[in-house]
């Protein structure tokens, strides 16, 4: 059983909800983001999303845009991301790692090679924001071959017809984007999100995680009433930026993650 499946199964058995935490690889530096990454599981992260920085992150708000550019300026690359996953796996074999980013760097790396290398490094899934189902076969097929889940985004604009298209080849879990907007901007309307998720649940058995616009432990607690997991990204990235020069950065982020986990 894949790590993603296993983790959701365990959570379900224990009647708990999942916490997905996002950090950008290489921000504020390769070493510091690795030290934060290593501290995440113990502080309460059930899943970890690692942002693969890209110069033109068109689905991201200012927090993740800026962190991507900082990471690139400090030399992060796709190879660097995979090295970070390898280093993390030397101390953790349990927590699922999901790589999140945009298609161009992967395409440039060579899609098949990247899938093989990502699986070898110990990644479990991928979220590629600018690859809708209509265009994803060239990535999905090698991903499946390498044993990686391609996690699909469902949004408030995804109507019934499209929902079928989106879930047709989905695996791992579904990522419900709770707002029409970019990451870390608006706050979600929980009633609206609840309706959509209830509908999605009638169409698939896959777990549903909710993300975009979830900032505080209260937000996370509310969303967990209706979803299997919540994704917190921009507010962690923001916190990392504010404390990037603090020697206790990993501990500060660990505290934030613990507060989120305790709330859900």
């Amino acid at each position: 059983m894949s790590r993603i499946k296993q983790t959701f199964a365990t959570l379900k058995k224990e009647n708990k909800k999942g916490l997905v935490t996002f950090i950008t690889a290489g921000d504020p530096s390769a070493e510091k983001s690795l030290s934060v990454l290593r501290a995440l599981p113990e502080s309460g992260a059930d899943f970890i999303e690692i942002g693969m920085p890209f110069t033109d992150p068109m689905a991201d708000g200012p927090a993740i845009q800026d962190s991507s550019l900082r990471a690139l300026a400090r030399g992060m690359s796709l190879k660097g991301v995979l090295k970070m996953v390898t280093d993390f796996r030397s101390g953790n074999t349990q927590t699922p790692i999901i790589l999140m980013g945009y298609f161009n760097p992967i395409y440039s790396y060579g899609t098949e090679n990247f899938m093989a290398d990502a699986a070898k490094a110990g990644a479990d899934g991928l979220i590629i924001v600018d690859l809708p189902p209509e265009e994803d076969s060239e990535l999905r097929i090698p991903a499946t071959k390498a044993g990686l889940d391609l996690i699909k985004l469902v949004t408030p604009t995804t109507n019934d017809n499209r929902l079928q298209t989106v879930i047709e080849h989905a695996s791992g879990f579904l990522y419900y984007v709770s707002i029409t907007g970019v990451t870390g901007t608006k706050s979600a309307n929980i009633d609206e999100v609840g309706k959509h998720i209830a509908h999605i649940k009638t169409q698939t058995d896959l777990p549903v995680a909710v993300g975009f616009g979830i900032k505080t432990p209260e937000d996370a607690a509310n969303m967990c009433k209706i979803a299997d997991a919540v994704v917190v990204g921009s507010s962690i990235v923001d916190n990392m930026q504010k404390n990037q020069d603090d020697n206790a950065l990993a501990q500060i982020i660990a505290n934030q993650v613990t507060a989120l986990k305790q709330a859900i």
């Binding site: 110069t55 068109m58 689905a59 550019l69 690139l72 760097p105 395409y107 440039s108 029409t180």
Partner: protein, 424 residues
């Protein structure tokens, strides 16, 4: 009998059924396929939030394309508001000076707002109105597309928001003022590198957050399907007029076509109607900046590689890690690190030859055209003219060339003066 739908060079497509198209694999005008692909290029690489909207735009555009009333409205305004058809002008002094090929200019710089951009702005705002959208957003680099968008928004009384790189807002203040006079709101974009590509990212982000009421009026033959096809079809009025005018003047087709390429809208507009006339040679002229062997140019085909950005697969300037790099050109309108997907396709199948011209060569051509013909061109078509200056002397006198003079140079006099070290 065939229905003459409109005069934009699309009659040809209308006369072919789908089956006939497939039986005619040698046609260069089949693209894009139903998913918006030109060969491996094009497509719809957007976030899921935008997908339903992109599909709506496609549906509305295809319905409009098949509706005579839509083209009647477009053609009426193209004639009386834009001033179409634009003249096809025999450039006698140029021809004599260069001493080779016979050179014609397609005078799209005489359009209202001074460039070809108004053609696709008019077409797109009519589509947006049919969709029931109530506000328009656009990106702009130099400000030409922003001014043309603000113009049609004023004409149709629709609110208009233009995203412009903060650096470009500084460099192009006359156009910022024009947009504001026309009633548009100009938002300086500071994210990323604060230039055209970031303005496009920001427009896409804004669109994701305002999908209900907003139409994104893209300024070139780029972006996700159906934009490359739609913008091309609105711009192909340039080529179909040229064909008709050339038949009147010379009784035959031209031997070669020359157009500058940033995103590629004016070139696609000139080329498309002629793609199946395989005796007509075509040159797309990219902005070579300081030279394509330096890191300061905007030649995506000559100096980039295939990739995915802004909703499409095409050629992009990028580093070994697939990170998009900055474009550079003396001409702000060519200063884009990508190119429309149909050009990428035409490049790979070698139907069009893509060459490049440096900043300095374009500047020389700018000065030469002003003196020879009494026409101050924009820096964009100055690139096309620089290529003509290179090849026309080597060609026989019965070789007929057409260059798309796609914009006038009023907006560029400050840039040129600065480059020449002259204080205005």
């Amino acid at each position: 009998m065939l229905q003459k739908v409109h005069n934009n060079g699309l009659q040809e497509d209308k006369t072919m059924t789908k089956a006939q198209k497939i039986e005619n694999p040698n046609s260069f005008t089949n693209g894009p396929d139903e998913n918006g692909h030109f060969g491996i290029y094009g497509g719809r690489y957007v976030a899921e939030t935008l997908m339903p909207l992109i599909l709506d735009v496609e549906k509305a555009w295809h319905a409009a394309r098949d509706d005579q009333a839509f083209w009647d409205e477009f053609n009426g305004l193209a004639k009386d508001y834009i001033g179409r058809p634009s003249p096809l002008y025999y450039a006698k002094a140029t021809t004599e000076h260069l001493g080779g090929a016979k050179v014609y200019f397609k005078r799209d710089e005489l359009n209202h707002t001074g460039a070809h951009k108004i053609n696709h702005c008019l077409g797109q705002i009519l589509v947006a109105r049919r969709m029931g959208k109530t506000r328009i957003i656009a990106e702009t680099g130099a400000g030409q597309h922003g001014v043309a968008t603000a113009t049609v928004c004023a004409l149709f009384d629709m609110p208009c928001t233009v995203f412009m790189g903060a650096e470009d807002v500084e460099r192009q203040s006359p156009n910022v003022f024009r947009m504001k006079l026309l009633g548009a709101e100009v938002i300086p974009v500071t994210s990323g590198s604060g230039t055209l590509k970031d303005a496009m990212n920001e427009a896409l982000r804004h669109w994701v957050a305002n999908v209900e009421d907003t139409y994104y009026l893209i300024g070139t033959v780029a972006g996700p399907h159906p934009y490359p096809e739609m913008v091309r079809d609105f711009q192909s009025v340039i080529g179909s007029e040229t064909k008709e005018q050339m038949m009147e003047k010379e009784g035959r087709l031209p031997d070669s076509l020359v157009a500058c390429i940033g995103g590629g809208s004016n070139a696609m507009g000139l080329f498309h109607t002629f793609l199946n006339d395989t005796d007509v040679q075509m040159f797309g002229v990219e902005a070579g900046g300081h030279g394509v062997d330096t890191d300061k140019h905007a030649a995506s085909l000559n100096g980039g590689k295939p990739g995915i950005l802004h909703g499409m697969r095409s050629y992009f300037l990028q580093n070994d890690d697939g990170q998009i790099t900055e474009a550079h050109s003396i001409s702000a309108g060519l200063d884009y690190p990508g190119i429309g997907p149909e050009h990428a396709f035409l490049n790979d199948i070698k139907r069009v030859q893509y060459v490049s011209v440096t900043d300095d060569e374009a500047l020389e051509a700018f000065k030469m055209l002003a003196k020879l013909e009494g026409i101050i061109p924009a820096l964009e078509p100055s690139h096309a003219f620089a290529h003509i200056m290179k090849i026309a002397p080597t060609l026989p006198k019965d070789h007929i060339m057409v260059m798309n003079l796609c914009g006038r140079g009023d907006k560029d006099i400050f840039t040129v003066a600065e480059k020449l070290g002259i204080e205005i």
